[in-house]
Symmetry: C2
């Protein structure tokens, strides 16, 4: 009974888990949330790299066919300085960059991300490797993760804050925006409203599905696999937020762990 | 050359350091910010207790005359379950509770704090020990710390969010509000505007000064001591935010440490 390990600093990566589970219901998933040390997005890349190493080490105790690092900041850290692993490790930055290059007509692409992801420049590098004449612009949106964690999803204050960051980056005359943090798809409606109809909104999930399909033998049956959530800091509120983000997708257990 | 150790999850406790340094300029201070794992305010009390234990252990390498736990959530954790220490340990909840009881005419007191501090009920317990007929109301304000960390201090969006939480707790007909998180005094102006003139606004600093004076032999000279800042996650931005919060108070060094 092999599983796919999915790892994030908190609940944001559940948007990725939801997309993978929708595509492969028969697969088993183990989701690890490093909630005791979240958020990663305002911390230095060397600290985040250290944390990712501990999480990958933790996953060694499980029989996994792949590990998905479902956090953009953690992905940036391991792209910059890869960590050896016996199991294939997937990140969410390279598939997001590829889908943005496919979506963009003008090659002018904007990145909405955490401060640490912006600072690492992982998206600009990944996009320029695929399309050297692209022009890439970045905007850090540090308040969006707290707003999602607070559950202010459909809220006028959230709309104002989303508009402030989106309108700043739109001044660069873009045609494509990457939601470069796994929390951001939760705010998709507010982001789309601020961006307008002419902007393509890209997240990493679709590209990640393609990456997994091309490199891993996935279980394509119609049966139902298990979903297990592990968290380094556990509270009843975590369970509530997990249900809010997963929507229809259910999980079998949620429990505390130490790294 | 003994020093006072001051500990917080991040930069919020610098509001406490500033108050202590203003009162005792000749004292030496060592400020430890656990920025690699901040914020504490949304995490469970047992995880926070674990982190405080590691920070107190770290301080053993220094010649300290006292340790000030300048974080309300960390204070709540050690009041609930004290940690043995050879050096006197001060918290910020008990002095804040005492000043609120002194300030209140009606005994109706409100607490603005992080989710974890509210959940721990440390302020209601501390106030009811001093004044058993008091009525205490609590309001968690989870977005205020991110707003301060983002530097949106004098901003209409911050005013809206401050007003939303303050107006909710004011429905209880209070005469006193405790700013029960060391970040919140940075938002004092917005909080005071939302609360109006008839509400007494209390923070822990004044009470903490009294507690130190009564239990520790403080250096009352007019010379100038040293201020050293240590942080578990270091970035140039940290230095910038530290200067913003400390205003006139200067520091001699700021450097990364591992716990």
């Amino acid at each position: 009974m092999q599983a796919i390990g999915v790892f994030d600093s908190g609940v944001g990566g559940l948007t990725v888990l939801r997309a993978l589970k929708a595509r492969w219901p028969a697969e088993n998933f183990i989701y690890l949330a490093d909630t005791a040390r979240l958020p990663y997005g305002n911390k230095s890349l060397s600290t985040v790299h250290n944390y990712v190493g501990q999480c990958l080490k933790f996953f060694k105790a499980y029989d996994l066919k792949a590990v998905v690092v479902a956090c953009n900041t953690a992905s940036a850290a391991i792209i910059e300085k890869p960590i050896a692993s016996e199991v294939p490790v997937f990140n969410v930055i390279e598939p997001g960059a590829r889908k943005a290059v496919e979506a963009s007509g003008t090659g002018r692409v904007g990145i909405l991300a955490t401060r640490a992801t912006v600072h690492a420049e992982a998206y600009p590098h990944a996009i320029l490797r695929l399309k050297p004449d692209a022009e890439v612009f970045q905007q850090a949106c540090p308040l969006w993760v707290p707003l999602v964690e607070e559950g202010w999803i459909d809220d006028p204050v959230t709309n104002i804050i989303v508009y402030r960051y989106v309108s700043a980056i739109l001044k660069n005359n873009l045609d494509t925006l990457i939601m470069g943090c796994t929390h951001y798809p939760v705010l998709r409606e507010a982001i789309a409203k601020a961006a307008g109809n002419s902007i393509a909104l890209v997240d990493s999930s679709q590209g990640l599905v393609e990456d997994l399909k091309s490199r891993i033998e996935m279980n394509e049956e119609a049966t139902t696999g298990t979903v297990k959530i592990l968290a380094t800091d556990f509270s009843p509120r975590l369970e509530e937020t997990a249900r809010l983000i997963l929507r229809g997708t259910t999980f079998d257990s949620i429990e505390p762990v130490d790294l």
